[in-house]
Amino acid sequence: MPLIKIDDKEIEVEKGITVLQAAIDERIEIPYYCYHPALSIVGSCRMCLVEIEGMPKLQVSCNTTIGELPPERKKDGKYDMIVRTQTEIVKRERENVLEFLLLNHPLDCPVCDQAGECYLQDYSYKYGRAHSRFLEEKRVRKNEYLGSNVIINHNRCIMCTRCVRFTREISGTNELFVQARGDVSKISIFEDKSLDNMLAGNVIDICPVGALLSTDYIHKNRFWNLEAKKSICTDCSVGCNILVYSQNNRIYRLNARENHNVNGYFICDIGRYGFHRYEDAEKVTSPLIRSDGGFKPISWEGALKEIYEQFSMSMSGEKQQIVGIASPFHTNESLFMFGRLMNNIFKDKSIIGKLPFIEDYEIHFDSGFRISKDRSPNRKGLLDFCPNLEDEILQKVKAGEVRLCYALDDGVDRKLDEEWESFFKSQRFLVVQTYAMTPLAKLAHLILLGPSPMEREGTMTNDQGRIQWLNPSVSLTNKTRPDWEIIMEFMNTVGKRELKYTSVNEVNLEMGERFPDYRGRTFFKIGYQGLPKKNITTSRPSEGRQAIQ
């Protein structure tokens, strides 16, 4: 293990990593633009120059690998490399490079969406010179559409080519390229071959300045107004790690969050723009009960009383009388409570089913990124907590025998086919727990107001068996109750239990007690990076390196 010194810090590093990487690992700041840990190294921005003892000129730290020196040639008797990042000459060099970068960069931070999270802005402030010596007119070009969701502002582009390398190395689609050469070069697309792949949105994330803009977010808000919540994506069973940016409980955008066990540095566009589906859905604002062909609001107490009445009627019969429809869109905690309700309270009088899983085509990128064909986030959790799931519930359940059907809502874009529609229609009393007026909710007799996917809190198990924390990115609206709480009230009402969980953590602990695979997988332990289930040692080998930017 080579021992190096960066400024005053002695660091032991892996052989063969670069100086920049060693510095990033140690949280020593070396500014850079063109480097990205997932992409190949080009060393063109010249921002990460550092002084290395024994080298006549400044070196780009992104392309300087650390090797081991023979004992007699070690610097100061023990170091394999001595790096200085804060000397006068290095600082002057940063100032110079920034001056060049800013020559033609417009000073339109007030208009730019990147302002506040822009590394050109930050480093200019930190290392740049206060005044421009450039007297000529700046280069001005018109904005262009690169794809249906991506706009480029050529004026702001600093030609780091991260986006071009992304399309070549990660998405493998090659749409972007550099047109022409020298100072007139620009990022471009070939005629009608626009940037419209499944990962296109990531180029906006990796652009270190505000050159690549999302049509979805452009001119919508300012970065400092937004609150970032670390959560996971619920649009497929990969469970990509994301950052959800919101203000006043309204979500403005999603960004990828690094997790080398799951998604690396990127997310797909399905997840990135998926939150609009929940926004656009027709919302339910209060528990509702069917009356005169429509719905009318009802209080929670009223709703629970209604359930109790229907239930006490149903318990008198002999045959199976309770049908539960579980859903892979819910958290482990809700599904655990649901399983308990069905299996422990209704016991053999109940039957648990599910709507058919939503499946689409599976997408694999050569870079290792994947989008699962299973487009529900928690199929693993559903199977774990409802082990006696009945696959052919449509055949098993005969109309007229069921007194009460309790369905958890499914994905917002769930459509019901005829068979299922007639199944639900035939129910004498259908309780649906939902947040939106889905086709299923429209058939309900009683709607219990649960949280939307962005309001839910709990754990999810992805298709690799990794347990991850679904962190609520917006808070619950007035009358909404957490899913587990609704089921708990259900249990207390009909099962005469006296469960008094006050938070999802307590449910999580109880869940760990009863399911050994999940023991010790508390929010505190799984953190923001998740942990595999107990019986799985590794879900996916961790590779790749962290990036500050």
């Binding site: 080009v42 030609m159 050469r181």
Partner: protein, 433 residues
């Protein structure tokens, strides 16, 4: 110095010098036969090392040492690329060789390939050299026809294919990494080093890139021995060298002289002095990328790698551009700056943005709108693109390839050495306004 007889250009005046028979008549391909019969590849490398042959493309790196960098235990194929992408303003020596004795270079290529165990060699020729391309194609065809190329060359068991690859108009493709990228069919953006091409070059395989003139020297070294080669010129750089003289001289052209000849001899004797007997004002000793020299600086200056770096300039491609007293230095400087701005590949920040900025400032001065401040700024900008030029400590290059230095050196030297002219332009502007 003993009287010098041209070596590379000795027979170029013959009508048939570019044909195979013409070349063979004057002793061509003898070195090849000798090498196949008597020498092992390692011995060839040793011989070249002993001859102290330094690359003629501009950087002056010892050729034998470069060959030695190729990893011995590599399973990858080795490639040789002949760099015939001669684009340096004021340089036209390779063009002459390609035109007149393409076989000499081919022979050098075969020798070099044999030494580094390469079986596929490329000639990257400048896109603008259309006629030369035709001549070269013919020469390669002839060589294939007479088993000088192809399988089992001259019964030695050594195979070599040669492919001529035409460039398409980019100065930067003369830089070895840019050239390799261009050969791979990509834009000619120089790749970052390390790894160096001798380790990972074309298709990530070991690759040697050599200048036409360097390769043309090889047959002579093998023919007459390293000691003979070493005896020509000075100690620090030996061998014959092609000097290109252009600009305001009576007899512009390519002249072959040993390394270390006096610059004044070249200009006044070979070049025939200045047009109309005018006074010499300034001269580029090594193409437009070298720092310019004032007339009073060239007395006793010898044309070799080390003497010129001592004079804070470089031999480069030995393209001597002569300027007389009537030449306006500001406009020349602008011309040079514009050339580099046009040819900058646009990869590294300082070069992409800095070259255009220089043009804008110089243009402003030229139009009479400059200020004294601008002159100081040119110093700073050139330093920022190409590094602080301190020859005692080496240059502090700041870009991926040496293009940054190639911009900075001449422009800086212009402003440094002809500051009064720049100031005059500024003053003129002030008067007008």
């Amino acid at each position: 110095m003993a009287s010098f007889e041209p070596i590379l250009t000795r027979h170029i005046h013959r009508e048939d010098s570019h044909t195979l028979s013409g070349y063979k008549n004057v002793g061509g391909y003898k070195a090849l036969e000798k090498m196949f019969k008597t020498m092992a590849p390692d011995e060839v490398i040793e011989e070249v090392n002993a001859s102290n042959l330094r690359g003629r493309g501009g950087a002056g790196f010892p050729t034998g040492v470069k060959w030695g960098f190729i990893p011995k235990d590599s399973h990858k194929p080795t490639y040789l690329i002949c760099n015939a992408d001669e684009s340096e303003p004021g340089t036209f020596k390779d063009r002459l060789l390609l035109n007149k004795t393409p076989h000499m270079m081919l022979e050098g290529m075969i020798i070099s390939s044999y030494a580094i165990d390469c079986h596929l060699a490329f000639i990257y020729i400048r896109g603008e050299f259309y006629q030369e391309h035709k001549i070269l194609e013919k020469a390669v065809e002839e060589a294939y026809a007479t088993n000088l190329l192809g399988n089992d060359i001259l019964g030695s068991g050594f195979d070599l294919e040669v492919v001529i690859h035409r460039g398409a108009g980019a100065y930067i493709c003369g830089e070895e990494m840019g050239l390799i990228e261009s050969l791979e069919g990509k834009r000619g953006w120089p790749r970052i080093k390390p790894p160096f091409p001798a380790i990972e070059g074309y298709l990530r395989c070991p690759t040697i890139v050599s200048n036409v003139e360097t390769l043309a020297c090889l047959p002579h070294i093998l023919n007459r021995g390293a000691d003979w080669f070493k005896s020509i010129g000075s100690e620090k750089g030996s061998g014959p060298k092609l000097y290109c003289i252009s600009g305001r001289v009576n007899n512009p052209g390519v002249y072959e002289e040993p390394l270390g000849i006096l610059l004044t001899d070249l200009i006044f004797k070979r070049g025939g002095g200045l047009i109309d007997g005018r006074e010499l004002k300034a001269v580029f000793p090594g193409g437009s990328s070298s720092a310019i020299l004032r007339a009073d600086e060239i007395d006793g200056l010898r044309m070799d790698f080390d003497s010129l770096s001592a004079a804070k300039t470089m031999l480069g491609s030995a393209g001597i551009i002569v300027m007389d007293e009537t030449v306006d230095m500001v406009s020349v400087c602008l011309n040079i700056a514009r050339f580099y701005a046009h040819e900058s590949c646009g990869q590294c920040t300082p070069c992409r943005e800095g070259t255009t900025w220089l043009v804008k400032i110089l243009n402003r001065i030229y139009q009479g709108n400059g200020s004294l401040n601008d002159i100081d700024m040119i110093f700073e900008i050139t330093d920022n693109i190409g590094g602080l030029i301190d020859f005692s400590k080496g240059s502090f290059g700041k870009t991926i390839c040496p293009f940054g230095e190639a911009v900075a050196w001449p422009i800086r030297s212009f402003v440094e050495k002809f500051k009064d002219e720049f100031i005059a332009y500024v003053a003129k502007g002030v008067e007008v306004s």
